[in-house]
């Protein structure tokens, strides 16, 4: 199942997401663009309120070369499910029904619809592009904002400095449903990501991909650093590349040594205020998570 099929050499030149108004260096836009290169033209996409729909569907400039629709913020998975039902009702075969939702649209307001769709075994691919905050409304804290991150609703104040809660573990939550296929990814490892999109499209059931997609604007990094910082999130061990299918978890990458968490955090404006204690906490959390994955995921 893990034969790498997509690489920078054989990927299509065809574009299905262009002419949009995303900021320079936007990780989310790249995640959408690459996934559509894998899925191709027989694809129907739904995107909820969030940056990608906001930059892609400004009448009369439509940025998708495939069929695409904005869903309500909470309704990505349910709209996808309705589209899949209609495709069946009309006898449409060999089509992909894919959603691209942000972290807020997935882990917070859209989690109910996502859970229902997985429960029903809908034949949809749900891709969460995670930029760790509600970016479209100006960088507010979401359920996937990491501990300590400064957002406009978790400011770096004199009493409280940044987010006081940890990142929800969406991959585990989704896998706990017994979903057909789930994976984590990072646009920094785009080949891995694209091959996961391919496997998602071939799994014959419900698929979920959680892709780390940095937002230069909200993270306080130079626009040309989105890819490298996405790579570094994995290299320092705060993010990880994994898959789940048929009841089994698999780690795709097991770094011998991690790059320093501090280097990763210090490069980003949103973590500028962190003290050494905070960084030590982040390292402890990382180690605990890896301990968990390596021991609990027996097939890891």
């Amino acid at each position: 199942m893990n034969n790498a099929v997509f690489s920078s050499r054989n990927m299509t030149e065809q574009e299905f997401f262009f002419g949009h108004k995303a900021c320079a260096g936007c990780g989310g836009a790249l995640a959408v663009r690459l996934a559509l290169k894998v899925l191709g033209e027989r694809t129907f996409a739904a995107l909820p309120a969030g940056c990608m729909s906001a930059v892609g569907f400004i009448y009369p400039q439509m940025a998708f070369g495939i069929n695409a629709i904005i869903s309500t913020f909470a309704g990505t998975a349910s709209m996808l499910a309705g589209m899949a039902a209609a495709a069946r009702a009309q006898g449409l075969e060999d089509v992909h029904i894919v959603g691209f939702a942000g972290d807020g649209g997935t882990a917070d307001i859209g989690i109910q619809a996502l859970s229902g769709a997985i429960d029903r075994g809908e034949r949809i691919i749900y891709i969460c592009y995670d930029n760790e905050a509600y970016m479209n409304t100006g960088t507010q804290k979401s359920g996937l904002t990491p501990l300590g991150a400064r957002t406009t609703t978790t400011p770096d104040g004199s009493v409280v400095g940044g987010s006081t809660t940890k990142k929800k573990n969406m991959f585990d939550i989704v896998a706990a449903h017994g979903i057909d296929y789930a994976a984590t990814a990072s646009i920094g490892y785009y080949q891995d990501y694209m091959n996961k999109v391919l496997r998602a499209s071939q799994c014959g059931g419900t698929a979920y991909i959680h892709v780390m997609a940095p937002c230069p604007t909200g993270w306080g990094i130079p626009t040309e650093h989105a890819l490298t910082i996405a790579r570094e999130s994995v290299d320092c061990g705060l993010w990880y590349l994994a898959e789940y299918s048929q009841g089994k978890y698999r780690l795709n990458q097991r770094p011998e040594t991690f790059t320093p968490v501090e280097d990763y955090l210090r490069k980003q404006g949103r973590f500028k205020h962190l003290q050494s204690d905070d960084i030590a906490q982040a390292v402890r959390d990382r180690d605990a998570r890896w301990q968990y994955m390596l021991t609990q995921w027996s097939d890891a």
Binding site: F57, N67, A68, I70, G75, S78, A81, A85, A86, S115
Partner: protein, 397 residues
């Protein structure tokens, strides 16, 4: 006339039969009293192979309508049903569906809205969403419920209209009451309602980006078109009813249904099943020589302002029975009727009767009391503009 089979069914079951006969391709369902039985019957039809549809048991009403929109955007005939709290939970999607111009048909079992919790009937749920851009029709009996589900698809899917339709049935009094219903054969319904051919849909040959965002220079044009579509629905509703009558021999009067109004001095305006009780009261009063009449409003949107004004133009007093109250003002039906009267320069004294909230009975004697009030108003006596009928608590009157 085509042969029709007689069923003895509840309002909910009549709706389920209508959905089946309409060859609905996608149905999304979530339970809520008193709508649930409609969904249970549809489930049974699917389980027994009597209904070939994509039947989706979703996880909320928001998702029920959201999934319906996805299905409709792909060009399939789509139905869902809800009530009360569920309708309110859908509120965002109601506006979304009408803005997207998706011809979804939805049954709403009219039920009170919490707090306090009540599973019993009034019309505060749908009337509070009058502005959500849906065509709203209120039916009086199970036959009309069956007939209107089929007509609703024909109206919604008309190219000039492309607007979703909400078919409202009073909770329990209609959803749970058994009546004979004549059901035409599948072939007969097919001849009246051909398969849905979406003029605009997501299509592999012609990919579309739908449900986009707008900017101030173009947003109003979309809203204007929505308004135009609702206006265009007026003649379409009449045409669909005419065609339905030609096929099946039943008609309901279009946007309104006037009863003994021609020479009436006092006319009561009603919406929904209470019309049956009011008709009885009118007959009794007529026997006593009183010139009273009854005006049933069938469609609250598009609102039949000209028809209402025409029906009421010779009345010397008009009463509006609202199973609704917009707190701090008056019943919503009353507001709409008054606006129609003033707009058409018909200005008899008009009184608002708030009744039947949360399932409170409205009896013939209550209706008679309303006509008494109208008699006083007609004679120029001072009357309360907005009166709660049949209150169980002492008031300051």
């Amino acid at each position: 006339m085509m042969k029709q089979q007689k069923y003895f069914v509840s309002g909910n079951e009549a709706v389920a039969l209508g959905v089946q006969r309409s060859r609905t391709q996608v149905v999304t369902a979530y339970p809520i009293t008193p709508q649930t039985v409609a969904m249970e019957r549809l489930s049974e039809m699917v389980a027994d192979g009597e209904l070939r549809t994509e039947f989706m048991l979703v996880e909320s009403e928001h998702s029920a309508l959201s999934a319906a929109m996805g299905a409709s955007a792909m060009g399939t005939r789509t139905f869902t049903a809800t009530s009360s709290q569920g309708l309110l939970y859908m509120a965002e999607c109601l506006h979304y569906a009408s803005g997207g111009r998706w011809p979804i048909v939805m049954m709403n079992a009219n039920r009170s809205v919490a707090l306090p919790w009540s599973i019993f009937g009034d019309q505060r749920d749908s009337l509070s969403l009058l502005d959500s851009g849906w065509i709203q029709v209120y039916v009086e009996d199970a036959q009309e419920a069956f007939d209107m589900i089929i007509q609703a698809f024909a109206i919604a899917e008309d190219e000039q209209v492309l607007t979703p339709v909400m078919v409202n049935l009073d909770g329990f009094t209609l959803t749970h009451t058994y009546e004979p219903v004549f059901v035409p054969t599948q072939e007969a319904v097919d001849a009246f309602l051909p398969p849905y051919q979406a003029p605009v849909k997501m299509d592999l040959d012609r990919p579309l980006n739908m449900a986009f965002s707008s900017t101030p220079p173009n947003n109003m044009e979309f809203k204007y078109q929505q308004h135009q579509a609702m206006e265009a629905a007026r003649p379409v509703i009449a045409q669909v009813e005419q065609a339905f009558h030609a096929h099946f021999g039943r008609a309901y009067g279009g946007l309104i249904d006037a009863y003994r109004c021609d020479d009436a001095e006092r006319i009561l305006v009603t919406v929904g099943t209470v019309t049956g009780t009011a008709r009885q009261a009118v007959d009794q009063l007529r026997e006593q020589g009183q010139k009273v009449g009854l005006l049933k409003i069938r469609f609250m949107r598009p609102f039949p302002h000209e028809e209402v004004a025409r029906a009421l133009r010779h009345a010397r007093a008009v009463g509006v029975l609202d199973r609704d109250i917009s707190f701090g003002y008056e019943g919503t039906v009353f507001t709409n009727v008054n606006s129609a009267l003033i707009g058409n320069k018909v200005v008899p004294p008009a009184l608002n009767f708030i009744a039947g909230l949360g399932g409170r009975d409205i009896g013939v004697e209550d209706i008679e009391k309303m006509f008494e009030r109208l008699a006083a108003a007609m004679d120029g006596k001072a009357a309360k503009r907005v009166e709660f009928i049949h209150l169980g608590v002492a008031t300051d009157e």
